[in-house]
């Protein structure tokens, strides 16, 4: 009994030593920041080039270059999505040619044409500079693999689309639909120049990204019918450039402001 007690206290002592020992062995003074500095280094022409990296890129670049550098058309003015409150020249251009080119394929396959095209401002990824236009331009503007879909929407959903555009206050590419903004309220809503009829069904061309819920364009989820065209927006752009000598943009306002 006594022996056991002694053993117990010894064990306690041992546990204490072990615990303390572990604490000591693990003790590590933390490293604390006394000074932090932050800088931004611009990657510019003045910097040298890493030749190893350059050699790795070279074969990839050459292959793409060959494929993309053929001049397809001429662009007389910079098309830029950052210039314009309710519409931009590049937005008008994209929506107009999407409507025009998708309608060509729709008619060819015996489908009814679309009356409206709505794309998204965020989907335009580059400026089209003044000068020669190549397939590369189409890749820069539309790097995504999105295709055009055509949705049948009731007139009430077209009204919801107008409300969305008013709330969003972004120059989303728009074609075939126009209205006037007066005191934060949309007036004279026209589809292909004819007043909107909320009971009618309209065919609307957009991207599969937006029809699947992208940018929260919820009115697209209420489509009565969906027709996949499998026509990539980028390929549509390339087809337009191939068929065009000089790019012409119709900058007629789709959303006008009445003071």
């Amino acid at each position: 009994m006594v022996k056991l007690k002694k053993y117990r206290s010894l064990r306690k002592y041992f546990v204490f030593i072990l615990t303390f020992g572990i604490l000591v062995a693990c003790h590590r003074n933390p490293w604390t920041a006394t000074r932090v500095t932050g800088t931004k280094i611009a990657i510019a022409e003045s910097q040298p080039i890493d030749s190893t990296i350059e050699a790795v890129i070279q074969p990839y670049r050459q292959h793409i270059e060959k494929d993309l550098s053929t001049v397809l058309a001429y662009n007389p003015e910079p098309l830029d999505k950052s210039k314009g409150k309710w519409q931009t020249n590049i937005g008008c251009f994209m929506a107009d040619i999407t409507l025009e080119y998708v309608n060509k394929t729709l008619v060819q396959r015996g489908s009814a044409p679309a009356a409206i095209c709505l794309l998204n401002h965020g989907g335009i990824r580059a400026v089209i500079p003044q000068g020669d236009v190549t397939a590369r331009t189409a890749y820069e503007v539309m790097p995504f693999e999105n295709s055009v879909v055509v949705l049948a929407l009731k007139g009430t959903q077209i009204s919801a689309m107008v409300d969305y555009l008013l709330q969003e206050k972004k120059p989303h590419p728009l074609s075939g639909l126009s209205f006037t903004l007066h005191d934060n309220h949309a007036e004279s809503i026209l589809v292909q120049g004819i007043p909107l009829d909320e009971n009618k069904v309209y065919r609307v061309a957009t991207s599969d990204y937006l029809s699947n819920g992208g940018d929260n364009m919820t009115f697209f989820s209420k489509a009565l019918e969906t027709e996949q065209t499998d026509y990539k927006i980028r390929n549509l752009l390339i087809d337009y450039f191939k068929a065009t000598d000089t790019i012409r943009v119709n900058s007629t306002p789709r959303i006008s402001i009445k003071e």
């Binding site: 920041a33 006394t34 500095t37 932050g38 931004k40 280094i41 830029d80």
Partner: protein
């Protein structure tokens, strides 16, 4: 090196045991360490510099130049951590032709350490990301994307620990809400979890249990959303959490002239930085650290240049 540190640590501990209340700091020689964090975000497959006739960024950017800059910095201070805050993919034909193969190959060559997943990294589907990730020498971290039921399970961790010159650094990743941004056909069964909750738990784990000296969050949430004050962003995340020292951000393509300093919910300073997009800039944050308690107690001075 490791052994020397061990001896130093046990020696100091021994002194502490022997002399008790005399304190530790007077018996250790104070050391200073410099950890350099280099970072990019939203590079979007921009591998070549912009063309000379580009209206906004003529002849700017380019991976070969960035690699040379990184190499020079490594020569000056080898204690570098190189990270990316997502959207590595999508933006130039390099991605359309090769699916991100070249982007990852170059990041391997530049010796990137860690990256997080941006929404566009799902653009070739989660399978496309998996294919490239298998070839990556760097680690991919995401704490708030639950990837258990996806092909990325096991390829992406919530966080990683790096020891740079004896300084323990915990790095975790945060991704943006997928709804309305990533087609579900691409993200498949990826589940988005609340970034504030996840960041709170992960940062606490890294700081308290993993004993990290520095905790870094690689975020693709976006810098801030002035038009939507409730939408989670790096600015909000910094204020609503604690235990994070630095947030490297992305998504909003925000060109910060200098890092922003915010007070977290415990009143401590958090740095937020984001360097625009397309590899036009390389961000650099230098932490000068001490293991001297008295020096550390004087607080941190932040110089933004």
């Amino acid at each position: 090196m490791k052994r020397r540190e061990f001896i130093k640590t046990t020696g100091a501990a021994g002194a502490y045991v022997g002399l008790g209340s005399l304190g530790l700091s007077s018996f250790t020689t104070a050391e200073t360490k410099q950890i350099t964090i280099l970072h990019t975000n939203d590079v979007h497959s921009y591998i070549d510099p912009f063309p000379e006739n580009h209206p906004k960024n003529p002849n700017k950017g380019g991976v070969a130049r960035r690699a040379a800059v990184i190499k020079m910095i490594r020569e000056e201070n080898p204690n570098v951590l190189l990270v990316d805050a997502g959207d590595i993919f999508q933006g130039t034909p390099y991605f359309n032709y090769y699916g991100g193969e070249l982007e990852f190959k170059l990041m391997n060559l530049m010796e990137y350490d860690v990256a997080t997943i941006g929404n566009h990294d799902f653009d070739n589907g989660i399978d496309g990301l998996m294919t490239q990730l298998k070839k990556a020498d760097f680690e991919m971290v995401s704490a708030n994307y639950d990837l258990k039921n996806t092909v990325l399970d096991g390829l992406v961790s919530p966080y990683t620990l790096k020891i740079v010159d004896g300084v323990k650094i915990g790095i975790f990743g945060l991704g943006i809400a997928l709804q309305g941004l990533v087609d579900v056909r691409n993200s498949k069964e990826t589940k988005y979890l609340d970034p504030v909750e996840i960041a709170t738990d992960t940062a606490r784990l890294l700081r308290q249990e993993k004993k990290c000296d520095l905790v870094i969050c690689l975020s693709h949430l976006g810098f801030n959303y002035p038009d939507d004050a409730s939408k989670i962003s790096d600015m909000l995340l910094a204020q609503k959490t604690e235990n994070i020292d630095l947030i490297i951000g992305g998504h909003t393509h925000t060109f910060l002239d200098k890092p922003v300093v915010v007070s977290n919910r415990a009143g401590k300073k958090v740095l937020i930085n984001q360097v625009g997009c397309y590899g036009l800039n390389l961000g650099r944050i230098d932490f000068y650290l001490t293991n001297d308690n008295q020096l550390a107690a004087k607080g941190t001075s932040i110089e933004i240049g």
